[in-house]
């Protein structure tokens, strides 16, 4: 057997996870529909005054994205854990961190990217301006991968535990608060007339830090969970 390069490994795992996800489209769609419903509930709950809706739109979209990404975390490793694939993955000669990174990327493409694409449509429901929508997309593009990465740590720690779903939210949500603050802050900055640059830069910085550390920590957590 020839040895896979790092890029080869990444693309292999991503392709595999994407195919698996496409075979079960319902799972992907459930997350997306959950996101749409949560966002749509807010105008019904707080009343349809446009001024207020416009003001809370970024926060609502971000909180909904956060909750929707929690929903899909349980699936990140559990199927592979149950059928033994994860154990085999730990035995491959390549680094587990790289494998985990590929799984995180695949998870983001399946559960994060649809949210980013859907968000502008929901933003229109809240009467956001075009400029604010662009910033919202940019912030979500930077922010949702961080949610997947932090979530991966939580998912790995709670692998195979009873009540894992609620527990993973309890562990991950506090750590996601900075992403929420800067993500919603970027849009609010544009709405109030200042530049969103600093918020987006901080989100980018968070993304880089998460990119460096979380695959490694997740791999450690998986090893703890699997022993």
């Amino acid at each position: 057997m020839n040895k896979l390069s790092l890029i080869g490994l990444l693309s292999l795992v991503i392709r595999r996870d994407l195919v698996l996800a496409m075979r079960r489209r319902a799972d992907v769609l459930t997350t997306l529909i959950f996101f749409v419903i949560v966002v749509s509930l807010f105008p019904l709950g707080v009343g349809p005054e446009m001024d207020m809706l416009r003001k809370m739109a970024p926060g609502v979209v971000w909180v909904a994205a956060l909750l929707a990404s929690m929903l899909s975390l349980g699936r990140m490793f559990s199927a592979d854990y149950l059928d033994g694939t994860l154990e085999q993955m730990m035995l491959v000669p390549q680094s587990l961190s790289a494998l985990v990174l590929a799984k995180i990327l695949a998870h983001w493409m399946v559960s994060g990217l649809p949210l980013v694409i859907m968000a502008p449509v929901l933003g229109l429901q809240f009467d956001m301006s075009a400029q604010a929508l662009w910033v919202l997309i940019a912030a979500l593009l930077l922010g949702t991968p961080i949610l997947s990465m932090i979530g991966a740590v939580g998912a790995a720690l709670t692998l195979g535990l009873r009540g894992g779903g609620a527990l993973v939210s309890l562990l991950v949500l506090p750590l996601c608060i900075p992403v929420l603050i800067f993500g919603a802050g970027a849009v609010e900055a544009v709405v109030s007339g200042t530049s969103a640059g600093s918020h987006l830069a901080l989100l980018g910085a968070l993304l880089l830090v998460a990119l460096v550390f979380t695959p490694w920590v997740t791999a450690l957590a998986l090893r703890i969970s699997m022993e």
Binding site: V153, L157, T158, L161, R162, G163, L167, L170, L171, L173, P174, L175, I177, V217, L220, A221, I224, S225, E227
Partner: protein
Amino acid sequence: MVPWFSWSAAILFVVGLYVSFFVAPTDSQQSEAYRIMFIHVPASILSMFIYLVMAGYAALGLIFNTRLSSMMASALAPTGALLAFLSLWTGALWGKPMWGAWWVWDARLTSELILLFLYLGFIALHASIDDPRRADRASALLAIIGSVNVPIIYFSVQWWNTLHQGATVKFTGTSMHVAMQQGMYTMLLAVWLYAIAVSLLRVRCIILERECKAQWVSELVEVRR
């Protein structure tokens, strides 16, 4: 060592409370309400400090596989959570007369709230894993990740323009009245000793629980009786 720490904590609590409520003068701007600081400040300091100690013990346990340090980490968590809650609660009681609100979404308050959530997450994760060794290692990892938050709390009043006031007590000196200082340091020491006493008591229970099959436990006088 538990009786030593608990007795000295109790004595210091009495002295500290006496100094803070009867000796320390009334503040010129905040009148009597400032006295809640004598509980609020020690609780906040200790809640942060205990988290660091807990994360340190957790890291030791994870790296060197020492059992006792993991047990210490899980013994410290409830005390830390309690103090974090106490610090938020007393802060709310102080905030109502001073700021006119029980709660404001300010950087320091929010990050202290996150600290409380981190403690609760640690306890919840530890409780939901049945195998104690896996529980130790998994929650140790969580504790280490969460320790990022402690410097954020500490520096939040400098980094952001917050409603919460900056530190009055500094290593270089302070603007407080001497009796206030004495009251606060006594209370700080009292809370500190209390935390040590309670954690040691709890770690004793944890050790006995985990080692209940070991021979030295069955040879204990209390067990044989």
